[in-house]
Assembly symmetry: C2
Homo-oligomer: 241 residues x 2
DNA sequence: AAGTGGTCTAGACCACTGA
DNA sequence: CAGTGGTCTAGACCACTTG
Protein backbone atom coordinates (compact mmCIF):
# COMPACT_ATOMS: atom_id res chain seq x y z
CA UNK A 1 0.00 0.00 0.00
CA UNK A 2 2.85 2.32 0.84
CA UNK A 3 4.45 4.12 -2.06
CA UNK A 4 6.90 6.14 -0.07
CA UNK A 5 9.57 3.93 1.46
CA UNK A 6 12.07 6.37 2.91
CA UNK A 7 12.09 8.02 6.30
CA UNK A 8 9.80 7.38 9.25
CA UNK A 9 6.83 5.11 8.76
CA UNK A 10 4.40 7.73 10.01
CA UNK A 11 5.46 10.07 7.22
CA UNK A 12 4.78 7.41 4.62
CA UNK A 13 1.30 6.87 5.94
CA UNK A 14 0.84 10.62 6.16
CA UNK A 15 1.82 11.33 2.58
CA UNK A 16 -0.09 8.34 1.23
CA UNK A 17 -3.24 9.63 2.88
CA UNK A 18 -2.54 13.19 1.84
CA UNK A 19 -2.14 12.03 -1.75
CA UNK A 20 -5.59 10.50 -1.58
CA UNK A 21 -6.99 13.89 -0.63
CA UNK A 22 -5.02 15.79 -3.21
CA UNK A 23 -5.95 13.65 -6.18
CA UNK A 24 -9.60 13.54 -5.19
CA UNK A 25 -9.80 9.86 -4.20
CA UNK A 26 -11.10 11.09 -0.86
CA UNK A 27 -13.41 14.07 -0.85
CA UNK A 28 -14.74 16.29 1.93
CA UNK A 29 -17.11 14.28 4.09
CA UNK A 30 -15.67 10.90 3.11
CA UNK A 31 -14.44 8.63 5.85
CA UNK A 32 -10.91 7.29 6.17
CA UNK A 33 -9.75 3.78 7.07
CA UNK A 34 -9.81 3.17 10.81
CA UNK A 35 -6.65 3.28 12.90
CA UNK A 36 -6.68 -0.48 13.27
CA UNK A 37 -7.10 -0.99 9.55
CA UNK A 38 -4.21 1.30 8.75
CA UNK A 39 -2.05 -0.28 11.44
CA UNK A 40 -2.64 -3.67 9.84
CA UNK A 41 -2.06 -2.35 6.32
CA UNK A 42 1.25 -0.79 7.19
CA UNK A 43 2.21 -3.55 9.62
CA UNK A 44 2.66 -1.13 12.46
CA UNK A 45 0.89 -0.08 15.65
CA UNK A 46 -1.98 2.27 16.33
CA UNK A 47 0.42 4.71 17.98
CA UNK A 48 2.34 5.20 14.76
CA UNK A 49 -0.80 5.44 12.67
CA UNK A 50 -2.21 8.02 15.06
CA UNK A 51 0.85 10.17 14.60
CA UNK A 52 0.17 10.34 10.87
CA UNK A 53 -3.51 11.06 11.32
CA UNK A 54 -2.90 13.78 13.89
CA UNK A 55 -0.52 15.46 11.48
CA UNK A 56 -3.30 15.66 8.92
CA UNK A 57 -5.75 16.72 11.60
CA UNK A 58 -3.45 19.51 12.73
CA UNK A 59 -3.34 20.79 9.16
CA UNK A 60 -7.10 20.87 9.13
CA UNK A 61 -7.39 18.32 6.32
CA UNK A 62 -9.25 15.73 8.37
CA UNK A 63 -11.06 15.53 11.70
CA UNK A 64 -11.85 12.69 14.03
CA UNK A 65 -15.03 11.69 15.76
CA UNK A 66 -14.58 9.40 18.73
CA UNK A 67 -16.46 6.20 18.26
CA UNK A 68 -17.03 6.83 14.56
CA UNK A 69 -13.79 7.41 12.75
CA UNK A 70 -11.83 9.93 10.73
CA UNK A 71 -13.40 12.12 8.06
CA UNK A 72 -12.18 14.48 5.40
CA UNK A 73 -12.95 18.05 6.38
CA UNK A 74 -14.21 20.85 4.25
CA UNK A 75 -11.47 23.39 3.63
CA UNK A 76 -12.03 26.89 4.99
CA UNK A 77 -11.43 29.07 1.99
CA UNK A 78 -12.23 32.20 3.98
CA UNK A 79 -9.44 31.80 6.52
CA UNK A 80 -6.44 33.72 5.30
CA UNK A 81 -2.97 34.12 6.66
CA UNK A 82 -1.36 37.45 6.15
CA UNK A 83 2.20 38.55 6.67
CA UNK A 84 2.44 42.15 7.74
CA UNK A 85 5.64 43.59 6.30
CA UNK A 86 7.69 45.58 8.78
CA UNK A 87 8.86 48.96 7.63
CA UNK A 88 12.32 47.58 6.89
CA UNK A 89 10.91 44.98 4.51
CA UNK A 90 8.88 47.56 2.68
CA UNK A 91 11.71 49.87 1.72
CA UNK A 92 14.35 52.23 3.04
CA UNK A 93 13.66 54.71 5.75
CA UNK A 94 14.39 58.24 4.64
CA UNK A 95 12.82 60.28 7.34
CA UNK A 96 12.74 59.23 10.93
CA UNK A 97 11.86 61.22 13.98
CA UNK A 98 11.31 60.27 17.56
CA UNK A 99 9.79 62.59 20.10
CA UNK A 100 8.09 62.54 23.46
CA UNK A 101 4.84 64.48 23.42
CA UNK A 102 1.95 65.24 25.74
CA UNK A 103 -1.00 63.03 24.90
CA UNK A 104 -4.11 64.69 23.55
CA UNK A 105 -7.57 63.39 24.27
CA UNK A 106 -7.59 61.17 21.22
CA UNK A 107 -4.37 59.44 22.19
CA UNK A 108 -5.56 59.12 25.76
CA UNK A 109 -8.56 57.26 24.49
CA UNK A 110 -6.61 54.96 22.22
CA UNK A 111 -3.92 54.06 24.73
CA UNK A 112 -6.11 54.34 27.83
CA UNK A 113 -3.92 56.97 29.48
CA UNK A 114 -4.52 59.45 32.23
CA UNK A 115 -4.68 63.06 31.02
CA UNK A 116 -1.29 64.69 30.77
CA UNK A 117 0.54 61.39 30.43
CA UNK A 118 3.28 61.56 27.84
CA UNK A 119 3.74 59.30 24.83
CA UNK A 120 6.60 58.44 22.53
CA UNK A 121 5.85 59.32 18.94
CA UNK A 122 7.82 57.69 16.15
CA UNK A 123 7.42 59.04 12.64
CA UNK A 124 8.93 57.51 9.59
CA UNK A 125 8.72 57.61 5.85
CA UNK A 126 9.55 54.61 3.73
CA UNK A 127 11.06 54.91 0.28
CA UNK A 128 11.63 52.73 -2.71
CA UNK A 129 14.21 54.51 -4.77
CA UNK A 130 13.02 58.06 -5.26
CA UNK A 131 9.47 57.23 -4.40
CA UNK A 132 7.94 57.50 -0.96
CA UNK A 133 5.63 54.52 -0.65
CA UNK A 134 4.45 54.78 2.91
CA UNK A 135 4.56 56.83 6.02
CA UNK A 136 4.11 55.62 9.49
CA UNK A 137 3.22 57.01 12.91
CA UNK A 138 3.58 54.97 16.06
CA UNK A 139 2.67 55.78 19.62
CA UNK A 140 3.81 54.20 22.84
CA UNK A 141 3.08 55.23 26.42
CA UNK A 142 6.22 56.85 27.79
CA UNK A 143 7.67 55.32 30.92
CA UNK A 144 10.66 57.14 32.32
CA UNK A 145 13.50 54.99 33.44
CA UNK A 146 13.41 52.47 30.65
CA UNK A 147 16.85 53.16 29.26
CA UNK A 148 16.72 50.04 27.14
CA UNK A 149 13.80 51.47 25.24
CA UNK A 150 15.49 54.75 24.57
CA UNK A 151 18.56 52.90 23.34
CA UNK A 152 16.65 50.65 21.03
CA UNK A 153 14.75 53.43 19.40
CA UNK A 154 17.92 54.68 17.79
CA UNK A 155 18.24 51.46 15.86
CA UNK A 156 15.92 49.78 13.46
CA UNK A 157 14.03 47.59 15.82
CA UNK A 158 10.69 46.22 14.62
CA UNK A 159 7.77 47.74 16.44
CA UNK A 160 6.55 44.48 18.02
CA UNK A 161 9.99 44.05 19.58
CA UNK A 162 9.81 47.52 21.06
CA UNK A 163 6.40 46.76 22.51
CA UNK A 164 7.83 43.51 23.89
CA UNK A 165 10.12 45.56 26.11
CA UNK A 166 7.14 46.99 27.89
CA UNK A 167 5.18 43.78 28.13
CA UNK A 168 6.62 40.27 27.83
CA UNK A 169 6.08 39.04 24.33
CA UNK A 170 3.57 36.33 25.24
CA UNK A 171 1.40 38.74 27.09
CA UNK A 172 0.23 40.75 24.14
CA UNK A 173 -1.39 40.24 20.80
CA UNK A 174 -1.94 42.45 17.80
CA UNK A 175 -5.03 43.64 16.02
CA UNK A 176 -4.69 44.89 12.50
CA UNK A 177 -7.32 47.05 10.89
CA UNK A 178 -7.17 47.55 7.16
CA UNK A 179 -9.06 50.38 5.52
CA UNK A 180 -8.99 52.78 2.60
CA UNK A 181 -8.78 56.54 3.12
CA UNK A 182 -8.27 59.73 1.20
CA UNK A 183 -4.82 61.13 1.76
CA UNK A 184 -4.99 63.91 4.36
CA UNK A 185 -3.11 67.11 3.58
CA UNK A 186 -0.09 66.41 5.80
CA UNK A 187 0.28 62.79 4.77
CA UNK A 188 -0.02 63.67 1.09
CA UNK A 189 2.83 66.12 1.52
CA UNK A 190 5.12 63.48 2.99
CA UNK A 191 4.19 60.89 0.40
CA UNK A 192 4.39 63.33 -2.46
CA UNK A 193 0.93 62.52 -3.71
CA UNK A 194 -2.17 64.59 -4.23
CA UNK A 195 -4.44 65.19 -1.24
CA UNK A 196 -7.44 62.94 -1.64
CA UNK A 197 -5.54 60.17 -3.33
CA UNK A 198 -6.62 56.73 -2.10
CA UNK A 199 -4.30 55.22 0.48
CA UNK A 200 -4.27 51.96 2.39
CA UNK A 201 -4.47 52.71 6.10
CA UNK A 202 -3.03 49.95 8.25
CA UNK A 203 -3.63 50.40 11.93
CA UNK A 204 -1.95 48.10 14.40
CA UNK A 205 -3.09 47.93 17.97
CA UNK A 206 -0.93 46.03 20.43
CA UNK A 207 -3.15 44.73 23.18
CA UNK A 208 -2.34 43.24 26.56
CA UNK A 209 -4.17 40.31 28.11
CA UNK A 210 -6.75 42.70 29.54
CA UNK A 211 -7.48 43.80 25.97
CA UNK A 212 -6.14 47.27 26.52
CA UNK A 213 -4.09 48.97 23.88
CA UNK A 214 -0.45 49.38 24.86
CA UNK A 215 0.89 50.46 21.51
CA UNK A 216 -0.55 51.92 18.36
CA UNK A 217 0.78 52.29 14.85
CA UNK A 218 -0.77 53.75 11.72
CA UNK A 219 0.75 53.29 8.30
CA UNK A 220 -0.46 55.13 5.25
CA UNK A 221 0.53 53.15 2.24
CA UNK A 222 0.49 54.18 -1.35
CA UNK A 223 -0.27 52.14 -4.43
CA UNK A 224 2.60 51.83 -6.85
CA UNK A 225 4.02 49.36 -9.27
CA UNK A 226 2.72 46.19 -7.76
CA UNK A 227 3.70 47.32 -4.30
CA UNK A 228 1.47 48.99 -1.79
CA UNK A 229 -1.09 46.24 -1.64
CA UNK A 230 -1.31 43.49 0.93
CA UNK A 231 -1.66 39.85 -0.02
CA UNK A 232 -2.99 36.98 2.01
CA UNK A 233 -3.39 33.26 1.38
CA UNK A 234 -5.79 30.49 2.21
CA UNK A 235 -5.95 26.81 1.36
CA UNK A 236 -3.48 23.98 1.34
CA UNK A 237 -0.77 25.11 -1.01
CA UNK A 238 1.39 26.72 1.63
CA UNK A 239 1.98 23.73 3.81
CA UNK A 240 4.29 21.61 1.67
CA UNK A 241 5.09 23.12 -1.66
CA UNK B 1 3.66 20.31 40.72
CA UNK B 2 0.36 19.94 38.91
CA UNK B 3 -2.26 22.56 39.71
CA UNK B 4 -4.87 21.26 37.31
CA UNK B 5 -6.25 17.94 38.50
CA UNK B 6 -9.15 17.29 36.17
CA UNK B 7 -9.16 15.69 32.77
CA UNK B 8 -6.31 13.99 30.93
CA UNK B 9 -2.83 14.18 32.44
CA UNK B 10 -1.36 15.59 29.26
CA UNK B 11 -3.67 18.59 29.48
CA UNK B 12 -2.52 19.30 33.03
CA UNK B 13 1.09 19.30 31.94
CA UNK B 14 0.17 21.38 28.94
CA UNK B 15 -1.62 24.07 30.90
CA UNK B 16 1.00 24.14 33.65
CA UNK B 17 3.69 24.77 31.06
CA UNK B 18 1.57 27.27 29.21
CA UNK B 19 0.99 29.15 32.43
CA UNK B 20 4.75 29.43 32.85
CA UNK B 21 4.93 31.14 29.48
CA UNK B 22 2.00 33.41 30.10
CA UNK B 23 3.13 34.76 33.43
CA UNK B 24 6.66 35.29 32.23
CA UNK B 25 8.40 32.59 34.29
CA UNK B 26 9.70 31.26 30.98
CA UNK B 27 10.72 33.75 28.34
CA UNK B 28 11.59 33.40 24.67
CA UNK B 29 14.88 31.53 24.35
CA UNK B 30 14.62 29.85 27.75
CA UNK B 31 14.80 26.09 27.91
CA UNK B 32 12.12 23.83 29.31
CA UNK B 33 12.50 20.78 31.56
CA UNK B 34 13.42 17.67 29.61
CA UNK B 35 10.87 15.02 28.74
CA UNK B 36 12.35 12.66 31.32
CA UNK B 37 12.27 15.32 34.02
CA UNK B 38 8.65 16.12 33.33
CA UNK B 39 7.72 12.44 33.16
CA UNK B 40 9.22 11.96 36.61
CA UNK B 41 7.62 15.12 37.98
CA UNK B 42 4.17 14.13 36.84
CA UNK B 43 4.69 10.43 37.53
CA UNK B 44 3.90 9.47 33.98
CA UNK B 45 5.69 8.34 30.83
CA UNK B 46 7.56 10.18 28.11
CA UNK B 47 4.76 9.41 25.69
CA UNK B 48 2.27 11.39 27.72
CA UNK B 49 4.69 14.24 28.33
CA UNK B 50 5.47 14.41 24.61
CA UNK B 51 1.78 14.82 23.86
CA UNK B 52 1.70 17.96 26.01
CA UNK B 53 4.87 19.37 24.52
CA UNK B 54 3.76 18.74 20.98
CA UNK B 55 0.55 20.60 21.68
CA UNK B 56 2.57 23.64 22.68
CA UNK B 57 4.87 23.13 19.72
CA UNK B 58 1.95 23.01 17.33
CA UNK B 59 0.75 26.34 18.72
CA UNK B 60 4.14 27.79 18.00
CA UNK B 61 4.88 28.57 21.64
CA UNK B 62 7.89 26.27 21.90
CA UNK B 63 10.18 24.35 19.60
CA UNK B 64 12.36 21.30 20.07
CA UNK B 65 15.93 20.61 19.15
CA UNK B 66 16.89 16.96 19.01
CA UNK B 67 19.74 16.25 21.39
CA UNK B 68 19.36 19.56 23.19
CA UNK B 69 15.86 20.05 24.50
CA UNK B 70 12.78 22.23 24.27
CA UNK B 71 12.95 26.00 24.08
CA UNK B 72 10.51 28.86 24.23
CA UNK B 73 10.05 30.41 20.82
CA UNK B 74 9.81 34.04 19.90
CA UNK B 75 6.25 34.90 18.89
CA UNK B 76 5.70 36.04 15.33
CA UNK B 77 3.82 39.26 15.76
CA UNK B 78 3.75 39.84 12.01
CA UNK B 79 1.81 36.69 11.17
CA UNK B 80 -1.87 37.55 11.06
CA UNK B 81 -4.93 35.50 10.51
CA UNK B 82 -7.72 37.12 8.62
CA UNK B 83 -11.26 36.02 8.09
CA UNK B 84 -12.64 37.14 4.77
CA UNK B 85 -16.32 37.81 5.20
CA UNK B 86 -18.50 36.32 2.49
CA UNK B 87 -21.03 38.61 0.90
CA UNK B 88 -23.79 37.10 3.02
CA UNK B 89 -21.99 37.96 6.24
CA UNK B 90 -21.41 41.51 5.12
CA UNK B 91 -25.02 42.46 4.53
CA UNK B 92 -28.07 41.81 2.37
CA UNK B 93 -27.86 41.41 -1.34
CA UNK B 94 -30.03 43.91 -3.14
CA UNK B 95 -28.85 43.60 -6.68
CA UNK B 96 -27.74 40.40 -8.24
CA UNK B 97 -27.15 39.58 -11.82
CA UNK B 98 -25.66 36.59 -13.54
CA UNK B 99 -24.68 36.54 -17.15
CA UNK B 100 -22.51 34.65 -19.55
CA UNK B 101 -20.25 36.94 -21.55
CA UNK B 102 -17.47 36.69 -24.09
CA UNK B 103 -14.12 37.19 -22.40
CA UNK B 104 -12.14 40.26 -23.33
CA UNK B 105 -8.37 40.28 -23.44
CA UNK B 106 -8.08 41.31 -19.81
CA UNK B 107 -10.22 38.45 -18.60
CA UNK B 108 -8.38 36.05 -20.86
CA UNK B 109 -5.19 37.06 -19.19
CA UNK B 110 -6.51 36.76 -15.67
CA UNK B 111 -8.20 33.40 -16.15
CA UNK B 112 -5.74 32.05 -18.72
CA UNK B 113 -8.41 31.48 -21.34
CA UNK B 114 -8.30 31.04 -25.06
CA UNK B 115 -9.71 34.00 -26.99
CA UNK B 116 -13.44 33.84 -27.44
CA UNK B 117 -13.96 31.56 -24.47
CA UNK B 118 -16.97 32.59 -22.46
CA UNK B 119 -17.12 33.40 -18.76
CA UNK B 120 -19.80 33.59 -16.14
CA UNK B 121 -20.08 37.03 -14.64
CA UNK B 122 -21.77 37.47 -11.29
CA UNK B 123 -22.52 40.98 -10.10
CA UNK B 124 -23.86 41.85 -6.74
CA UNK B 125 -24.39 44.76 -4.44
CA UNK B 126 -24.43 44.38 -0.69
CA UNK B 127 -26.53 46.57 1.55
CA UNK B 128 -26.78 47.37 5.20
CA UNK B 129 -30.16 48.94 5.65
CA UNK B 130 -30.49 51.71 3.10
CA UNK B 131 -26.78 51.93 2.54
CA UNK B 132 -24.87 50.08 -0.14
CA UNK B 133 -21.61 49.06 1.48
CA UNK B 134 -19.98 46.98 -1.21
CA UNK B 135 -20.28 45.74 -4.72
CA UNK B 136 -18.81 42.68 -6.12
CA UNK B 137 -17.92 41.23 -9.51
CA UNK B 138 -16.93 37.61 -9.94
CA UNK B 139 -15.75 35.73 -13.00
CA UNK B 140 -15.64 32.04 -13.69
CA UNK B 141 -14.73 30.20 -16.86
CA UNK B 142 -17.95 28.92 -18.40
CA UNK B 143 -18.14 25.22 -19.03
CA UNK B 144 -21.28 24.09 -20.76
CA UNK B 145 -22.90 21.01 -19.41
CA UNK B 146 -22.41 21.71 -15.74
CA UNK B 147 -26.07 21.87 -14.79
CA UNK B 148 -25.17 21.76 -11.10
CA UNK B 149 -23.36 25.03 -11.44
CA UNK B 150 -26.23 26.76 -13.14
CA UNK B 151 -28.57 25.53 -10.44
CA UNK B 152 -26.40 26.70 -7.60
CA UNK B 153 -25.96 30.14 -8.98
CA UNK B 154 -29.60 30.87 -8.30
CA UNK B 155 -29.03 30.41 -4.60
CA UNK B 156 -26.71 32.13 -2.22
CA UNK B 157 -23.76 29.84 -2.45
CA UNK B 158 -20.42 31.22 -1.26
CA UNK B 159 -18.01 31.79 -4.08
CA UNK B 160 -15.41 29.25 -2.88
CA UNK B 161 -18.10 26.58 -2.95
CA UNK B 162 -18.95 27.48 -6.52
CA UNK B 163 -15.31 27.23 -7.48
CA UNK B 164 -15.17 23.87 -5.70
CA UNK B 165 -17.63 22.52 -8.26
CA UNK B 166 -15.13 23.08 -10.99
CA UNK B 167 -12.12 21.83 -9.09
CA UNK B 168 -12.20 19.53 -6.06
CA UNK B 169 -11.92 21.63 -2.96
CA UNK B 170 -8.44 20.44 -1.97
CA UNK B 171 -7.01 21.22 -5.32
CA UNK B 172 -7.21 24.96 -5.14
CA UNK B 173 -6.13 27.75 -2.88
CA UNK B 174 -6.96 31.41 -2.70
CA UNK B 175 -4.89 34.54 -2.97
CA UNK B 176 -6.29 37.74 -1.59
CA UNK B 177 -4.97 41.10 -2.64
CA UNK B 178 -5.97 44.13 -0.61
CA UNK B 179 -5.58 47.61 -1.98
CA UNK B 180 -7.05 51.09 -1.88
CA UNK B 181 -8.54 52.71 -4.99
CA UNK B 182 -10.53 55.71 -6.03
CA UNK B 183 -14.10 54.78 -6.83
CA UNK B 184 -14.51 54.45 -10.61
CA UNK B 185 -17.56 56.09 -12.17
CA UNK B 186 -19.65 52.94 -12.53
CA UNK B 187 -18.83 51.55 -9.11
CA UNK B 188 -19.55 54.89 -7.46
CA UNK B 189 -22.97 54.87 -9.05
CA UNK B 190 -23.81 51.48 -7.63
CA UNK B 191 -22.46 52.31 -4.20
CA UNK B 192 -24.07 55.71 -4.14
CA UNK B 193 -20.85 57.49 -3.34
CA UNK B 194 -18.87 60.17 -5.11
CA UNK B 195 -16.48 59.14 -7.90
CA UNK B 196 -12.99 59.29 -6.47
CA UNK B 197 -14.00 58.30 -2.96
CA UNK B 198 -11.53 55.89 -1.39
CA UNK B 199 -12.62 52.26 -1.52
CA UNK B 200 -11.10 49.03 -0.33
CA UNK B 201 -10.52 46.77 -3.29
CA UNK B 202 -10.43 43.09 -2.35
CA UNK B 203 -9.40 40.82 -5.16
CA UNK B 204 -9.63 37.08 -4.74
CA UNK B 205 -7.90 34.75 -7.11
CA UNK B 206 -8.73 31.06 -6.89
CA UNK B 207 -5.75 29.10 -8.06
CA UNK B 208 -5.33 25.47 -8.98
CA UNK B 209 -2.31 23.34 -8.13
CA UNK B 210 -0.56 24.57 -11.26
CA UNK B 211 -0.94 28.11 -9.90
CA UNK B 212 -3.34 29.11 -12.62
CA UNK B 213 -6.30 31.29 -11.83
CA UNK B 214 -9.61 29.43 -12.13
CA UNK B 215 -11.84 32.04 -10.56
CA UNK B 216 -11.62 35.74 -9.87
CA UNK B 217 -13.60 38.05 -7.66
CA UNK B 218 -13.27 41.78 -7.02
CA UNK B 219 -15.08 43.48 -4.21
CA UNK B 220 -15.22 47.24 -3.84
CA UNK B 221 -15.93 48.01 -0.25
CA UNK B 222 -16.92 51.28 1.26
CA UNK B 223 -16.03 52.71 4.63
CA UNK B 224 -18.96 53.28 6.92
CA UNK B 225 -19.79 53.19 10.59
CA UNK B 226 -17.14 50.81 11.73
CA UNK B 227 -17.83 48.49 8.85
CA UNK B 228 -15.97 48.37 5.61
CA UNK B 229 -12.57 47.69 7.10
CA UNK B 230 -10.91 44.35 7.47
CA UNK B 231 -9.42 43.16 10.74
CA UNK B 232 -6.78 40.55 11.35
CA UNK B 233 -5.16 39.10 14.46
CA UNK B 234 -1.79 37.84 15.56
CA UNK B 235 -0.45 36.48 18.82
CA UNK B 236 -1.67 34.02 21.39
CA UNK B 237 -4.97 35.42 22.53
CA UNK B 238 -7.13 33.60 20.03
CA UNK B 239 -6.18 30.08 20.96
CA UNK B 240 -7.93 29.69 24.31
CA UNK B 241 -9.78 32.74 25.44
C1' DA C 1 29.53 8.68 28.21
C1' DA C 2 25.42 10.68 29.70
C1' DG C 3 21.49 13.09 28.41
C1' DT C 4 18.31 14.71 24.83
C1' DG C 5 14.54 14.40 21.58
C1' DG C 6 12.62 11.19 17.48
C1' DT C 7 10.65 6.95 16.39
C1' DC C 8 8.35 2.76 17.43
C1' DT C 9 6.30 -1.51 19.78
C1' DA C 10 2.68 -4.18 22.10
C1' DG C 11 -0.05 -4.05 24.90
C1' DA C 12 -4.11 -1.81 28.22
C1' DC C 13 -8.68 0.47 29.69
C1' DC C 14 -12.15 3.93 28.70
C1' DA C 15 -16.38 6.30 26.54
C1' DC C 16 -18.70 6.50 22.68
C1' DT C 17 -21.40 5.30 18.17
C1' DG C 18 -24.10 2.02 15.45
C1' DA C 19 -26.22 -2.21 14.09
C1' DC D 1 -22.33 -6.04 20.83
C1' DA D 2 -18.08 -5.31 18.12
C1' DG D 3 -15.66 -1.41 16.46
C1' DT D 4 -13.99 3.29 16.95
C1' DG D 5 -11.04 6.91 18.64
C1' DG D 6 -8.84 8.93 23.31
C1' DT D 7 -5.66 8.12 26.83
C1' DC D 8 -1.85 5.83 28.88
C1' DT D 9 2.01 2.47 30.22
C1' DA D 10 6.71 0.60 30.09
C1' DG D 11 9.67 -0.41 27.68
C1' DA D 12 13.15 -0.17 23.16
C1' DC D 13 16.73 1.70 19.71
C1' DC D 14 18.47 5.65 17.17
C1' DA D 15 21.03 10.14 16.06
C1' DC D 16 22.31 13.96 18.07
C1' DT D 17 24.54 17.43 21.53
C1' DT D 18 27.45 18.36 25.35
C1' DG D 19 31.04 17.85 28.63
Amino acid sequence: MSITQKGPVYLSIYSDLKQMLQDGRKRPGDDLPSENTLAAQYRTTRTTVRKSLQLLEKEGLIYSWAGKGYFVSKPAHNAFSLDFPEDEQLGDSRYRRISVIKSDSQLQQILHLEPGKRVIKICRSIDQGDLCVACDIKYLPYEKGTPLLEQELNYFVPFPDIVAQIVPTFLFYTELEISAVSAPQDIAQVLGCAPGDPLLLLQRRFMNQEHRCIGYGARYQRQCFGHGSLTAHSGYHIQHD
